[in-house]
């Protein structure tokens, strides 16, 4: 699909345009009671409306792309490229190249959706709104960039770009020990990306190009660094981002202290960058190493699933609990990847999408509850479903989706991963099955303690969901989760298209290896 | 170069140079140290003569003995007696000794071990003219730059040494800061607080 028009560039940089607009137009700095803030007669607050408009515009563009996406053609579509840096003499060439394929298209769409959600869920932010919404949009640009870059250096650029808004968003608008968490997030990510950069450069040097489409794994074998080392270097960054045990401890801190919108984006799309990277870069560019590393990946994945879930069970902070559950859920991605088959990889990709929606929704719900109760301690809450039944519905729904209930999105991904990975990773899958039970345990336990149980009159005054933005988010996300649960083909086909070439190259390599001795 | 006179000259001048330098090392009085420096430099000048570098020897005597030493003496005289102490710092002497011994080993090794390819038995004559010609012809640019360098040093030294009105204000404020107790506080190991620098009168 070639629209003859740089639609991807437009998509990616539209949020930056929004940043400019926000910077130019005045912001409202009069804090009002958030309960009556949207009563008629209040002044229009430009930044949030601009942010919403821009986020919606990106959503529409990505939706159009999603629809126009040619489901019969493999490879990258909407490609938009030119030579950015060409230093021929020294072989340092960077392309400005964007494109989407079946793998990235759903993630782009997911990013656009969750950006809208993030803006809406921030509707009641009153502290330095101009900056806040500007940074949110910068974050959107960087994530979109990561998902669409076709050049390693561009990928790295956007990967790093996301740090700045995240650092500021967490440490200015966060809560609790926010400075610590923000710095921890940044340092972990920088640590990973340091290794990633070296890996990228080694790849680029060996292949003489940074273009993802042109790097061949045979070239990697000629690198100074042995290919497994390159793989491991890049894997460090993705493992931290995903995150997997034992480099996961930044995640609970960052989530707990981040503002709701950032938690949503962090869980919803930023973690997905790790999984996307594994599929798009590691397995596409180094299928041979990936095929050798399958057992290691499976083990790491299973450890993340089970250990993450067990640790989750002991969490007493609702946001922390969900954060830890992400560790467990993202372990499924590794497990799916380790299957080395279309089914497993599709499942892993599907897990990226569905977890984005589900955990995004969970964080939205926890955020809305926190807005009201100002506590996240599970022990402080009881019987909230009496006072805020609508939020209760949302929370229970999201929780059930999180534990992998059929007809909701999470089930599809998990079952596909299990079915895909069982044959090659029998033991790993067998152990990972307990994760399903543990997920049910921690989610139901949390629901029981917070929303169910005897009424607590402390919370009698709590307003339920009462603003159009909240209704929109809850209903929208519920609809999407159900849609993906009952009709997963709508994205599964795309993902399958996206992972097929990867699996083909893996199979070629494996059979060549087997044939060669 | 094997005659006795030459030997005598070399060894006595060497002893003078090294001895003078050593005396600087042990001397506790700065003025004495400068005097020993003069002695040492005269020894070096003498050594230049043994190397048939008469022009350089003359320059050495003129500039080092005549100018630099005097300059130093002046500077020392400007400070009170208490500041004319030339003792070594015990804290650094140890590490410094280690470093210097290492340097000595290295330089000796290199001096002795290397084939320097020395060829000429006859000394150069007419040195002043040759040096002058070389300066004008081959090294004209360094020569010019050297002139600028001296100008810069001169101007800078004057600018630093002369006491202007605004400098007085700076000193006053600086002293005031000291009186205000803004002197370095040993407890504050992190960073010495740097107090606000005073506004000069020129700001208006």
């Amino acid at each position: 699909m070639d629209p003859g028009f740089p639609v991807l560039s437009l998509l990616i940089f539209l949020p930056l345009l929004g940043v400019v607009l926000i910077a130019l137009l005045p912001g409202k700095h009069t804090p009002t009671d958030w309960l009556v803030q949207n009563a008629p007669g209040n002044a229009v607050d430009y930044p949030k409306w601009i942010a919403l408009g821009i986020a919606l515009a990106t959503l529409i563009i990505s939706l159009v792309m999603f629809i126009l996406f040619d489901r019969s053609a493999a490879g990258f579509q909407f490609v938009d490229e030119f030579d950015w840096i060409s230093a021929e003499a020294v072989g340092f060439n960077v392309k400005y190249a964007f494109g989407v394929d079946g793998l990235s298209m759903p993630l782009v769409f997911l990013t656009a959706i969750l950006s809208v959600v993030a803006v809406l869920v921030s509707w009641r932010v009153n502290l330095r709104t101009k900056e806040y919404f500007a940074w949110l949009l910068v974050l959107e640009t960087s994530v979109l960039g990561v998902f669409t870059s076709l050049d390693l250096i561009m990928f790295f650029l956007f990967w790093e770009l996301e740090l700045v808004p995240m650092f500021l968003l967490i440490s200015i608008w966060g809560s609790g020990n926010r400075n610590y968490s923000a710095l921890k997030f940044v340092l972990y990510t920088v640590f990973g990306s340091a290794f990633m950069l070296v890996g990228f450069l080694a790849l680029g040097v060996a292949a003489d190009t940074f273009d993802i489409r042109e790097i061949r794994h045979d070239a990697v074998a000629a690198a100074f660094l042995p290919a497994p080392a390159i793989f491991a270097f890049i894997m460090i960054a993705f493992a931290i981002k995903l995150p997997v045990v034992p480099v996961h401890t930044w995640l609970p801190d960052a989530h707990t202290d981040a503002p709701t919108a950032v938690s949503v984006l962090l869980a919803g799309v930023l973690l997905k960058m790790g999984g996307y990277g594994i599929l798009r870069l590691l397995f596409t560019l180094m299928p041979d190493v990936g095929a050798d590393a399958d057992l290691a990946l499976a083990i790491i994945g299973v450890v993340s699933i089970v250990y993450g879930a067990i640790v989750t069970i002991r969490q007493t902070d609702l946001k922390r609990l969900i954060a830890y559950s992400s560790v467990s859920h993202m372990g499924f991605v590794l497990l799916g990847v380790s299957a080395l088959g279309v089914t497993g990889l599709s499942g892993a990709a599907m897990q990226l999408v569905t977890h984005g929606l589900i955990t995004g929704m969970l964080f939205v719900m926890v955020g809305l509850v926190y807005d009201r109760t100002h506590t996240r301690q599970i022990s402080d809450m009881s019987g909230l479903a009496h006072h805020i039944p609508l939020l209760g519905i949302g929370m229970v729904f999201a929780g059930l989706a999180g534990l992998g209930l059929p007809a909701l999105a999470g089930f599809v991904a998990e079952i596909t991963i299990f079915l895909g990975a069982f044959e090659s990773q029998t033991a790993a899958v067998s152990v990972a099955l307990t994760g399903v039970l543990l997920a049910a345990a921690y989610i139901l336990w949390a629901l029981q303690r917070t929303f169910f149980g005897p009424k607590d009159d402390n919370w009698a005054h709590l307003p339920d969901a009462n603003h159009w933005s909240e209704f929109t988010i809850i209903a929208g996300l519920m609809a999407l989760i159900v849609l993906l649960g009952v009709y997963p083909s709508v994205v599964m086909d795309l993902l399958e298209m996206g992972v097929e070439p990867i699996v083909e190259s893996i199979e070629t390599v494996v059979s060549a290896g087997a044939g060669g001795g | 170069m094997s005659d006795f006179g030459f030997h005598l000259a070399f060894w006595s001048l060497a002893a003078m140079t090294i001895g003078g330098a050593s005396m600087i090392m042990v001397s506790r009085n700065l003025i004495h140290a400068v005097v020993w420096l003069v002695l040492s430099m005269l020894g070096v000048a003498g050594l230049y003569l043994t190397l048939s570098a008469d022009f350089i020897a003359v320059v050495q005597v003129l500039i080092y003995v005549g100018a630099i030493s005097v300059l130093m003496l002046f500077a020392i005289m400007l400070t009170p007696r208490a500041e004319r102490d030339n003792s070594s710092s015990l804290k650094t002497a140890g590490p410094a000794g280690v470093v210097v011994i290492m340097v000595m080993i290295a330089t000796f090794w290199v001096a002795i071990d290397t084939d320097w390819g020395s060829v000429r038995e006859v000394a150069l004559t007419d040195q002043a003219r040759l040096i002058g010609e070389s300066l004008i012809k081959h090294y004209i640019l360094p020569f010019e730059i050297g002139a600028v360098l001296l100008t810069a040093a001169l101007v800078g030294a004057i600018a630093l040494a002369r006491e202007d009105d605004e400098d007085a204000a700076v000193h006053a404020a600086s002293l005031q800061a000291e009186l205000d107790g803004l002197e370095f506080d040993p407890v504050d190991v992190v960073d010495p607080p740097i107090p606000a620098e005073p506004e000069s009168e020129a700001r208006s």
């Binding site: 640790v311 099955l433 | 290492m102 190991v189």
Partner: protein, 671 residues
């Protein structure tokens, strides 16, 4: 009959769910929104109330179920015509991922037809009953929404043509069970019971999931018919193969055991039975529908569905036979000491389901399904009866009842019908099905037969005890309604329940009597056999010996129980505590054989939560995170301390120049 009909059966209750959901949402919105948002148009409220009132929750569901029931009946008739052979198999591709193809489809055969009738029929009656029972409850609309969702899931489970779809609906059934048990979520016991039910059944589901994954990876298919054909063929040929793939006996056994694990969880068999008694925290109609007639029967249905698979492995079939027999007896013993009428019925349910389980295990495929059907009717009847009792006494504690036979005659009469049926007294339906199971057990496994027979005797005993405590003797006054709860305001004067409740009781009582006669002529057997890969005509089994033995045992033990209960004061005065002669045994039984304590308190709470999870969390915070934090903190400290090097002396700088240079030289020259 067109496939559309089956989708209609599935989607009718789903639509009702949507409407009930709208109604429930409207209830919450109406209650809340106008308080916060002055812009909310007040004119909207009456309109919304008019169209989205409580009736929107119940009426569409009842209509939907009625229509579905009629459709199911029509289908059953068609099925009879086809002798239970697969009537309609239609499958649609839902999604693919590589080799994996997930389908959504229906498979209609004799088994399905029977199940559809049971599910829609019992559900319809229970819903009608619920309109009376739940009338006035705050969560009325939510209740019907959940019920609608439950019925949908159950229908979907029955209709599924492949294992994955079956599993999906299986899980949804579990979900709705969770929601319904925790319906009164403000009661901590209810919330805890809901969670427990979900988790315990999910533990079993893991086995089923594992089986699903295993069978898919071995055969590449999830289609039920294909799997059954494979198992059936393999059992004869001694070798399993499909699509050119060979499957070992071990894999087949594992597959069977996995399915059995799922069934054990869902049907509350030992050792996963512990959730079912707690599940009685839900509203009584829920217990009637979900925890006796349909959902728990899903486990039996699953094993019946995969009967060839279970019987492809003698390990699996023996396993389930013994588990079932043991559970049947154990649960019956437990039922004997309960004082809560619903708990008696709950343990009875476990026991009866165990009957079906071991029937499957001993090859009594039809018998199991038959018992499933009869049990569904009479157990629903019993539960609804207990609900009716509760409706007027506000309690389920039999010690607070008594003498109700005159005050609630219809309830009494129907309850007694149910009891006789359950106890297996000829000619009530329970007799026919139970007898058939015992015949199969006698033929195949004598040990199981003995256990089953003992359980049958105990069944009569505990039911008679329950009936006696509830309906005979003096009325003990019931219980005052708890503040904030909905119930009978005057429990000291119990009265008969409203028509909406008694009508279903009567209907169910009638069915309980007549449904047993289906066994004559072998028609029923033929339908059900139609679902197997090698359908054959069934026949009516009869054995005088077993008939006489079991009837004598049931009547005898029932009579003994009655006498015992009637003279219990005198019995107590003999110095024997409670019902059981040995106090320790009594305590052992009332503590549910300590299984609950073992499972929940020791394993789940103490070992897992208290020890494993706690130490993992400690490890995570202290070691995994702690190492990083420590490195960071110590790094900062060292960075601060290391600055003494930069101590401000000129010489420090110059020495470092000399030292650095020399170290370079030495290093290069030496190495």
């Amino acid at each position: 009959m067109s496939e559309t009909i089956f989708w209609a059966i599935l989607f009718l209750p789903l639509t009702a769910f949507a409407l009930a959901g709208v109604s429930a949402l409207n209830q919450n919105l109406q209650r809340r929104i106008p308080e916060w948002d002055p812009r909310y148009p007040s004119a909207f409220k009456p309109i919304a109330d008019q169209f989205c009132g409580p009736r929107l929750a119940s009426t569409p569901l009842i209509i939907a179920l009625a229509v579905a029931f009629v459709l199911a009946l029509i289908n059953l008739i068609d099925s009879i015509g086809l002798r239970g052979l697969p009537l309609d198999i239609a499958t649609h591709q839902l999604f693919t991922a590589g080799d994996l193809t997930v389908n959504l489809g229906v498979r209609i055969d004799g088994l399905t037809s029977v199940m559809l009738v049971i599910v829609t029929g019992v559900s319809l009656l229970v819903q009608v009953y619920s309109t009376g029972y739940m009338d006035g409850d705050h969560g009325y609309r939510r209740y019907f929404a959940f019920m609608a969702l439950f019925t949908t899931s159950m229908i979907g489970l029955v209709l599924a043509d492949n294992l994955l779809m079956l599993f999906a609906f299986w899980e949804l059934v579990g979900l709705t069970s969770y929601l319904l048990i925790g319906f009164w979520f403000h009661r901590p016991a209810a919330a805890a019971a809901a969670k427990k039910a979900f988790l315990v059944t999910r533990l079993g589901d893991l086995g089923m999931l594992a089986a699903l994954i295993l069978i898919y990876s071995k055969t590449g298919t999830m289609d039920i018919a294909e799997i059954n054909a494979l198992a059936d063929h393999g059992a004869e040929a001694g070798m399993f193969a499909l699509n050119g793939l060979m499957i070992g006996q071990t894999a087949m056994t594992l597959f069977g055991l996995g399915l059995i694990a799922g069934a054990i969880g869902k049907s509350a068999q030992f050792p996963l039975h512990i959730w079912l008694p707690d599940a009685m925290e839900g509203p009584t109609p829920v217990s009637a529908l979900v925890h006796s007639a349909t959902m728990v029967a899903a486990g039996v249905y699953l094993l019946a569905r995969f009967f060839p698979v279970i019987h492809a492995s003698s390990t699996a079939s023996d396993f389930i036979a013994w588990i079932g027999a043991g559970t049947a007896l154990g649960a019956a013993i437990l039922a004997l000491v309960q004082v809560d009428i619903k708990r008696v019925l709950a343990y009875s349910t476990i026991s009866q389901l165990a009957y079906m389980m071991f029937a499957i295990g001993v090859g009594g495929y039809v018998a199991a399904v038959f018992h499933l059907m009869t049990h569904a009717f009479f157990k629903a009847l019993l539960f609804l009866g207990s609900g009716s009792v509760n409706h007027s006494t506000n309690t389920f504690d039999m010690r607070k009842m008594g003498g109700l036979r005159t005050m609630m005659p219809i309830t009494f009469a129907t309850f007694v019908v149910g009891t006789l049926s359950l106890a297996g007294i000829i000619p009530f339906s329970g007799f026919w099905s139970k007898d058939e199971i015992l015949i199969y057990a006698w033929d195949n496994n004598k040990g199981v037969f003995v256990l089953g027979l003992l359980a049958a005797g105990l069944t009569a005993a505990y039911m008679v005890r329950a009936v006696y405590m509830t309906f005979f003797g003096q009325y003990q006054g019931g219980e005052q309604v708890a503040p904030g709860e909905h119930g009978n305001d005057d429990p000291s004067h119990p009265h008969e329940s409203p028509r909406s409740m008694t009508t279903p009781l009567i209907i169910l009582a009638v069915i309980s009597v007549v449904s047993g006669f289906l066994t004559f002529g072998g028609e029923f057997q033929t339908w059900v056999y139609g679902a197997l890969p090698h359908p054959h005509d069934g026949s009516f089994h009869w054995s005088w010996g077993i008939f006489l033995g079991s009837t004598a045992l049931a009547v005898g033990s029932g009579f003994a129980a009655f006498v015992f209960m009637h003279h219990r004061d005198r019995v107590r005065s003999w110095g024997v505590g409670g019902i059981w002669p040995i106090p320790e045994a009594q305590r052992f039984a009332t503590n549910l054989f300590y299984l609950d304590a073992l499972g929940e308190n020791l394993l789940a709470r103490r070992v897992f939560y208290g020890w494993i999870a706690r130490s993992s969390a400690w490890f995570d915070a202290t070691v995994v995170d702690g190492v990083v934090n420590h490195a960071w903190r110590e790094g900062l400290t060292v960075a601060g301390a290391a600055r003494f090097v930069q101590n401000g002396w000129v010489q420090a700088g110059t020495i470092s120049i000399g030292l650095g240079g020399m170290i370079i030289w030495i290093a290069v020259v030496l190495f």
